[in-house]
């Protein structure tokens, strides 16, 4: 670990550190090209014709806002491969989204796309300390999911050694880590924790492994999970971001500073919008990320609404990269609740609870509409050490929670304290919201 801390910052491609004015000029040129190429896609051709959009109507990057959004529903309607901008014969590979939120969608790559993709992965891997002398164990699924193959070719691009272990079979992962001595681990953060737990259960000394760092992505995770992974595996964990509709992993990734993920802006235009008004939010404000792929050949995408909520940071990073950084993904627009007209995210409630010393992050959000007004109830488990015999102190605890929720989410909640271990526990994705508003009148 100490060895890795001292690793020097290295930038894989000078394109990551372009002067902003040069970057903007490059983006504009590529956006104009993109609009021309998208004319080959019936879905875009139609919209462009209706709004009289063509290459020459794009004069500055601000004109991006005149272009239509693309949503997941649009992609489903164009199932399986009606969004192609090149003839089918030119495709080199097809990947797919997992389909956890509905029917799966496919994405396609030309040979040139695959080359670019490997390059993008090489960039963030290098930013997070990967060097050609390293050995990397990839415990991502290989298959339609973009994680495994994306990272695999990125690691090869850097010149490092890949162990394509693929996901699952934790005992075998451990044996490989011990016998082949990987320097780095690539997988989802939750699988990294599973591996860490197994190491502990089997009483393997993490120091006996050669692991120094890890590149984790494919799902949202928290800073708290990062600390646990760092500590339990004795490594430095780096976050990266991507989604198959945009290209897969490689859209963004952290540098050694681990303070936001650098977005590869020469390849992707990023916007951060209010999911209701669709207007851009100010830098530092949380909103829905929207990406436009500037260079992809087979299936370029225009203003794709990711439904991922994060904030952008356009302040310069001391690492030398000039690209904008995105925060962790802190929620999904799908999770957003509208309560008395106010947008509320479960993650805001969680943030408020964490601010109140003395509440465990086990909670349930109940939304109801007993009359004509929405009511928000937050049920919070108290921890035994926070229970006081004095009514006053218990009331104060409730008031503190109430105040924090009001300050973070901007509305009042009924705070209900409940006994520990009474709220449901979840193995996978936690279901913390119970929206009962639809139950009374039969629809939501």
């Amino acid at each position: 670990m100490a060895e890795h801390v001292n690793i020097e910052n290295r930038i894989w491609n000078p394109a990551e550190a372009l002067e902003r004015s040069r970057l903007t000029a490059l983006q504009l040129e590529r956006l104009r090209d993109l609009v021309e190429r998208l004319d080959a896609v019936p879905f875009y051709r139609e919209v462009f014709a209706r709004h009289r959009i063509d290459r020459d109507s794009i004069r500055s990057l601000d004109d991006l806002r005149r272009l239509p959004f693309t949503t997941k529903a649009d992609l489903r309607e164009q199932y399986p491969l009606n969004m192609l901008a090149v003839p089918r014969q030119r495709l080199a590979r097809i990947h797919g989204s997992s389909g956890t939120t509905g029917k799966p969608t496919f994405v396609a790559y030309t040979a040139e796309d695959l080359r670019q993709w490997a390059e993008l992965c090489a960039r963030f891997l290098t930013a997070g300390g990967l060097r050609s002398e390293h050995v990397v164990q990839v415990a991502f699924g290989y298959g339609l999911f973009t994680g495994g193959f994306g990272l695999h070719y990125g690691i090869e691009q850097v010149g490092a050694t890949v162990i394509p272990a693929a996901a699952g079979n934790t005992p075998r992962q451990l044996a490989l880590l011990q016998d082949l001595g990987a320097d780095a681990l690539v997988c989802t953060p939750s699988y990294a924790l599973t591996i860490a737990e197994t190491i502990r259960e089997r009483q393997i000394d993490p120091d006996s492994l050669n692991l120094k760092f890890g590149h984790f992505g494919g799902e949202p995770w928290t800073e708290d999970m990062r600390l646990r992974i760092d500590r339990q595996l004795g490594i430095r964990a780096f976050n990266n971001y991507g989604l198959s509709e945009v290209i897969g992993p490689g859209v963004g990734g952290e540098c050694l500073r681990r303070d936001g993920m650098h977005i590869q802006e020469d390849h992707f235009l990023v916007e951060c919008i209010d999911p209701q008004t669709l207007e851009p939010v100010a830098p530092g404000q949380r909103g829905e990320l929207v990406f436009t792929s500037l260079c992809k050949q087979a299936m370029p995408i225009l203003r794709y609404r990711t439904r991922d909520l994060a904030a952008l940071d356009d302040r310069p990073c001391p690492c030398g990269r000039t690209t904008i950084r995105m925060s962790r993904v802190t929620g999904r627009t799908d999770d957003m609740l509208i309560i008395r007209g106010v947008n509320v995210f479960p993650s805001q409630i969680e943030e408020a609870l964490l601010r109140v010393e003395g509440t465990a992050p086990h909670y349930e959000i109940v939304v109801d509409r007993p009359g004509t007004l929405d009511e928000l109830t937050v049920r919070v488990e108290i921890r035994p050490q926070d229970f006081s015999d004095e009514m006053r102190q218990m009331q104060q605890l409730r008031q503190r929670i109430d105040r924090e929720i009001h300050s973070v989410a901007g509305l009042r909640a009924n705070v209900e304290l409940v006994r520990p271990q009474t709220l449901e526990r979840f193995e996978g994705k936690a279901k913390r919201v119970n929206d009962r508003r639809g139950e009374r009148n039969g629809k939501i």
């Binding site: 035994p384 015999d389 009514m391 218990m394 209900e416 304290l417 006994r419 520990p420």
Partner: protein, 145 residues
């Protein structure tokens, strides 16, 4: 002189009070006296039992949140003005009461009240030098159990 009182967090829902009582009943533990403080949202159940350590273990095994608080059991005259006498004493000595409740059975011609003071040490000090009788655990349990 001090008694150990168990305080339990209870939600304001049906059945919440029965659960700890069931756990104690099954373990053969008698509740000597109790008080329930409630709000719209939750309540605090305060119990006096003979073997508070064992009761605490049993309640915690039944998933109850239990807190131990030191209280004093004080004898008062079981006649009109009995309560007032002792309150006037507390007032004179500037002792602040958080809450109080009573033992159900009288002890001879006296009633026994449980007092929680904001500063239990100082209360013990003042009461020791008074004519008021603070009943210790051994004595108390011999009589009421």
């Amino acid at each position: 002189m001090k008694l150990h009182q168990l305080s339990l967090f209870v939600e304001n829902r049906p059945g919440q009070l029965a659960a700890p009582c069931r756990a104690l009943a099954e373990a053969g533990i008698n509740i000597l006296t109790l008080s329930l403080a409630d709000t719209e949202q939750f309540g605090i159940l305060r119990l006096i039992v003979r073997d508070w350590q064992r009761a605490k273990t049993i309640l915690e095994a039944a998933d109850c949140v239990v807190n131990v608080t030191e209280v004093l059991a004080v004898e008062v005259r079981h006649q009109p003005g009995g309560m007032l006498e002792i309150l006037e004493f507390f007032e004179r000595e500037d002792l602040n009461i958080e809450y109080t409740y009573a033992f159900t059975a009288p002890r001879g011609d006296k009633a026994v009240l449980v007092f929680r003071f904001d500063d239990p040490e100082r209360a013990v000090d003042k009461l020791k030098n008074s004519r008021i009788n603070v009943v210790g655990g051994v004595e108390l349990f011999r009589d009421v159990d």
